[in-house]
């Protein structure tokens, strides 16, 4: 159980729930400060730039297990499945009768010999997951690198902003669905148009948030940097980039969501594999249990990928007492 995947997932979960725990009743409406208590008792161990130790993770895990929030979360998820069971399996009222039954879907998912050929134990399941993951992460990576670079240049240099903002602002509102034909015409093969469309959704969000992040940096930090004799490049690296990070990561979280959204749209229209493609295919062939399995899988990976972005952000911004929003 020490595989990297397991570590990422358990870490994501622990962080998500720990985040909830830390949102105490300090002041309503404001994301509560992690470690206010630590700060009072001996001036913050959590904010040492050395980083959180294993011990602190242990403490967090203990808190997690002790707290009622964990059980509330489990109960919330359980309630969803109970309702599914009641409406579809048990009563079968109204059009719910047309939906795949909970028991049937779970059995299909766990079966070594699934009726429709897709379960935890089939290679096909992982083929679709892998196809989608590769697309999302390559598109997201390109969008992150390009988006942050362009966003920072726009915030840093007026001339660059003047040149790029009007055109970007014109392209941004064009819905991803409207880009599909152009992507297919422009990009060769089946794979590149899908990645291109997935990239596009994340790209604009990342640019805009990075730009806002640079703009939101208090001018006093630039004055301080000048007065301390920092060059323009040093200001870029030590003031602009770290100063814009909080906004950048909010942008990246939204961008990750946008990636999954446009991925599925692109896969439905032009794919031959992938989770979005599979949802559509199973609908077409009336393999409804597999359809909901695929949907749940999309949800799961959407959650995990967003958690990865959030954890990365919080690790890069240990200096902040506030954590990135989202669970």
């Amino acid at each position: 159980m020490d595989s990297p995947m397991f570590t990422i997932v358990s870490d994501a979960f622990a962080s998500a729930v720990a985040y909830r725990l830390d949102r105490g009743g300090e002041s309503p409406g404001r994301w509560n400060i992690r470690g206010v208590r630590e700060m009072e008792a001996g001036r913050s161990t959590a904010m040492q730039s050395g980083g959180r130790s294993r011990v602190q993770y242990g403490v967090r895990l203990k808190r997690l297990v002790k707290s009622p929030r964990l059980y509330q979360a489990v109960f919330g998820i359980g309630l969803f499945f109970i309702l599914w069971y009641l409406f579809v399996d048990f009563f079968g009222i109204w059009r719910f009768a047309k939906l795949p039954k909970l028991v049937e879907s779970v059995k299909e998912w766990l079966s070594t010999d699934p009726v429709f050929g897709v379960s935890l134990f089939t290679a096909e399941y992982y083929k679709h997951i892998w196809a989608s993951l590769v697309r999302v992460f390559s598109a997201f990576a390109i969008a992150t690198v390009l988006g942050i670079t362009i966003g920072i240049l726009m915030g840093w240099r007026r001339i660059f902003f003047a040149l790029t903002f009007p055109i970007l602002e014109t392209l941004r509102p064009i819905p991803i669905l409207a880009w599909i034909p152009l992507a297919i015409i422009l990009l060769p093969g089946r794979e590149l148009p899908i990645i291109g469309l997935t990239f596009l959704a994340a790209f604009f969000v990342t640019i805009l948030n990075t730009l806002l992040g640079v703009r939101a940096i208090d001018k006093v930090y630039f004055r301080a940097a000048e007065s301390l004799g920092m060059s323009q490049w040093q200001q870029l690296w030590h003031v602009i980039v770290p100063g814009a990070l909080p906004y950048i990561f909010v942008g990246l979280q939204i961008a990750m969501g946008a990636c999954w959204f446009s991925l599925v749209a692109a896969e439905i229209l032009s794919g031959s594999a992938g989770l979005g493609y599979k949802v559509w295919e199973t609908y077409y062939y009336v393999q409804y249990p597999t359809m909901v399995i695929t949907m749940a899988t999309l949800g799961f990976f959407g959650y995990v990928s967003s958690a990865i972005v959030r954890i990365t952000g919080n690790r890069l911004m240990r200096w902040r007492s506030e954590m990135l929003a989202g669970v």
Binding site: R43, Q48, S49, V220, Y221, E226, M230, H238, P242, W319
Partner: protein, 274 residues
């Protein structure tokens, strides 16, 4: 390094929006600040003190007059010497980089200018920190510090930069009275340890007399100099001087002048609101 940082302000004036509302922020201010002097400018809120400091620092321009430091022009109408490490500012609202550790903040000036090695800077930083009773905070982020600790760290950051003149813009404004008195003593200790020309702005008269070699009173807007007094209380000073007869006499003398200005500022405020 001796005898540098003499600041000469001649007939300095600053008008905001000369074509429109025409707000005179600084009006015909002339001051000669000696090299190595701790000079304090006192005045009511909104009198143009900060404007004057910003002009010296290079953040703003003059509309009349001229400012020179050691014979080098800093500001005259339409011209300014860009901000630089020779005139380091400690800001009213605090400007420690929250994303960097305390030690990084303190050492960044000399290190980024390439004047000294990181190791030498760290050693010097620890000496400064120890001098004002700050131990074991080097690796923390500024957000984990108390208000008083932040101010001390920021003053040390400015001193590490070894400026020709140190500009302090109401640095203790947000502190409670007890913390303030401690940090004031620490500032004096640092000043005695590493003497340089200091230009300090405040609206607190006691603070001004306690810290300064000379205290100037600025009138309410348009800001001009009403009175300059030499504080002939020997250094090193500590808070016992606050009750000395010499201190109380100076306070009474300057208190009269500052009170008039505060009253005028208050009435002007009332008029603007009416």
């Amino acid at each position: 390094m001796e005898n540098t940082g003499a600041l000469s302000i001649r007939n300095a004036g600053k008008i905001y929006d000369p074509e429109g509302i025409h707000v005179v922020a600084v009006d015909d201010v002339s001051l000669e600040i000696e090299a190595g002097e701790f000079f304090v400018l006192v005045g009511p809120s909104g009198c143009g003190k900060t404007t004057l400091l910003n002009v010296i620092a290079g953040f703003d321009q003059l509309t009349s007059g001229a400012i020179n430091m050691d014979g080098t022009p800093l500001a005259s109408p339409g011209k300014r010497l860009r901000p630089g490490p020779d005139r380091t500012v400690v800001f009213q609202q605090g400007a420690l980089f929250p994303w960097k550790s305390v030690l990084w903040n303190i050492t960044c000036g000399p290190v980024k200018q390439g004047r000294i090695s990181v190791e030498a800077a760290k050693k010097q930083a620890r000496e400064f920190l120890a001098r004002v009773g700050l131990h074991g905070i080097e690796d923390q982020y500024p957000e984990a510090l108390s208000g008083g600790q932040k101010r001390r760290v920021e003053i040390i950051r400015a001193l590490m930069n070894d400026p020709t003149i140190l500009l302090l813009d109401e640095p203790f404004r947000a502190l409670d009275a007890l913390t303030k008195s401690v940090v004031q003593e620490h500032l004096l200790e640092l000043y005695d340890f590493s003497p340089k020309t200091v230009f300090f702005i405040t609206h607190d008269l006691e603070e001004a007399i306690f810290l300064g070699d000379r205290v100037a009173i600025m009138t309410t807007r348009p800001g001009s100099i009403k009175k300059v007094v030499r504080v002939d209380i020997p250094r090193p000073r500590d808070h016992r001087i606050l009750t000395s007869s010499r201190f109380l006499k100076l306070k009474a003398e300057l208190g009269e002048a500052i009170h008039d200005e505060a009253q005028k500022a208050f009435e002007a405020g009332e008029r603007e609101l009416a």
